[in-house]
Symmetry: C2
């Protein structure tokens, strides 16, 4: 297993990640506490799609004292948006809605340029394309501010060097596994990702708590930066960690750059979705219908079921029935896949319309000093 912001591979052992990264597990008590504020719990919390955190109890202490937090998350624009991206963002949107808070959204175009074998121009195109997808998810433009690292460098770089001054190469070497052959932009980059967590505090001249929903692979950035925040007079941000939506083939993490065919992208047509699910979605079912009827399928390893559980079937009762029927053999893999295909295509059909409208809305989201 390897989990860094730039590589996720092997079989993911979340218990081990919690231990290695020093995270806290999300337990029932914490969920009850969140529910006392949100009335309903998001299914990604109930199902532990978001499974771990840092300082979430502290954040709720502050919230209960009337000290509202803001949300910070982001997108590394190096390719088309896939379903894996949506998981964190849909959950972030829910947090924004139920807590009625500001969201700062960072597009790390510098990072992707520095880490990918892609041109600056290509990364700029993806930044534009990815912004459309984020807007299409329905974030409130009055409460959402986009930062693009290169476009907002006047605001980000002067703060980033304050973090950079307190982080040595030894530290990033240990946190990210860098070597002497990493380029000096990659080495510096983590300072840029640290900044949005303090920016509203900096601008308003008082400390505002921050909650960062992220995929757990992004945690190392904040493991490094969290030591620095107090040294600069800021609060450590709280973090809530999401697990990885598996690629259709079932192994590792979905990625916009690799396995083009084994991922579903937001601009895929209904036909493409159908073909990909039917062809690639790893099945937990049996080899023949007869065998399946007799032995039943295994939803734990079935990617279609995981997609429903993690992203496309918010209804617990429906999901439970599917799980039961699939496990018993009453529901076939082909039926499960059909169900998922309909769910995905219904979502994408709406999403694509909203994404088209988003082309006129970008300016409303870009942060202006």
């Amino acid at each position: 297993m390897k989990v860094t912001p730039w590589q996720v591979s092997g079989k993911i052992d979340y218990e081990k990640l919690i231990k290695d990264f020093g995270l806290s597990k999300i337990d029932d008590k914490l969920l009850e506490r969140i529910k006392s504020h949100t009335k309903e719990l998001h299914f990604m919390l109930k199902r532990r799609v978001f499974f771990a955190h840092r300082d979430l109890n502290w954040l709720l202490d502050e919230y209960e004292k009337g000290n509202k937090f803001f949300l910070y998350t982001g997108c590394g624009p190096s390719g088309p948006i896939h379903l894996g991206h949506l998981q964190t963002w849909l959950f972030t949107k829910w947090l924004q809605d139920v807590f009625d808070v500001e969201l700062w959204f960072q597009f790390t175009d510098d990072e992707k340029f520095l880490f990918k074998d892609k041109s600056y121009e290509e990364i700029q195109r993806w930044t534009y394309e990815n912004m459309l997808d984020v807007i299409a998810l329905g974030f409130d433009p009055k409460k959402t501010k986009f930062l693009i690292d290169t476009k907002h460098a006047n605001i980000l770089y002067p703060e980033a060097i304050k973090f950079a001054k307190k982080i040595t190469f030894s530290t990033v070497k240990a946190a990210f596994g860098f070597t002497n052959e990493n380029n000096i932009g990659q080495i510096f980059y983590t300072s840029m990702q640290a900044v949005p967590a303090i920016l509203p505090s900096k601008i308003k001249g008082k400390n505002i708590p921050c909650l960062i929903p992220l995929g757990v692979d992004q945690d190392p950035h904040f493991r490094v930066a969290r030591d620095v925040y107090p040294k600069l007079g800021y609060l450590k941000p709280a973090i809530i960690h999401g697990s990885f939506l598996p690629p259709l083939t079932g192994k590792g993490k979905t990625s916009s750059s690799d396995n083009k065919e084994a991922n579903i992208f937001t601009l895929d047509s209904p036909k493409e979705v159908e073909i990909k699910i039917k062809k690639y979605a790893f099945s937990g079912g049996q080899d023949t219908i007869e065998e399946h009827r007799k032995k039943g399928g295994n939803p734990e390893i079935d990617v279609s079921f995981q997609y429903l559980k993690m992203l496309f079937e918010p209804d617990d009762i429906k999901l439970e029935k599917i799980e039961k029927d699939y496990r018993s053999g009453k529901m076939l893999t082909s039926e499960l896949k059909e169900y998922l295909i309909k769910k995905i295509n219904a979502f994408l059909s709406e999403h694509q319309k909203k994404r088209e409208k988003a082309k006129k809305e970008i300016d409303k989201f870009l942060f202006k000093k």
Copy 2:
């Protein structure tokens, strides 16, 4: 001897530097060629205060083809301006005047923040103070553009990451002697210094030759970056290298941060200048007047004479007479010092007036996109 952009110590052996850094010596032929364009040669060229170069013949080839260059130099704002700073800038001003070219002037406030144990706010104050000194030297605001790294990060950072992507930690380790304990801002910084040499080309969409007058300690930045310019489709800048004005005590390089008492600053009063020169300026004279009259002084090691030669006595005939008289014993150390004190105070008196006026002129110099 140690010569890096952040440390100059030991006895400076310029012949060794030329060899170690791979520079070309400025020879009579090159001086003749420059003179064919400038009519008069600046005394700092004749006296080899500027002693080495990279690609200056190529730059003149281009110039002779009608392809004008621009100048790029800078200032690391971490303290008050001393006489050592003035050397490069006065020479740069002459180049601007005689070749009638644009000057891009970079204030590396990020660098100084990252390398000095000083606060961000203090570095910002020095940036303002140092800009006044630069303006006071009389640069033409119509042809001079100031870049402040943090204030112009929107322009500089997106280009800097293009350099950074092509420079590894191994490379900066070798060029600057960095270790794993250097901070990640220091490691990235050289990319920011590389950018102004391409900025006019970037903005105008065509390659414009660049000449960088600098103190030779700054050469390692460009030794690293010069390999990268062609990879990004730009020309390698030409460089002209200045030697170090010695501190009054005679060893190493003047510096605004160290040896406060052994350096003369632009805001020193006439009395302070007098006391510093009389008390600290290392003398090449003999211990007693009798001995001096008999054996004479040694101008090569006499700091007052070096200050006249390098900075304050442009008149060759006068300098030659002083040298002769001092060497013969006709001129005493006290007389030499008096002569220098008058020269410095005449300069500073004018400079301080112009510096006061400069407070209203900063905006005219700041680059606006």
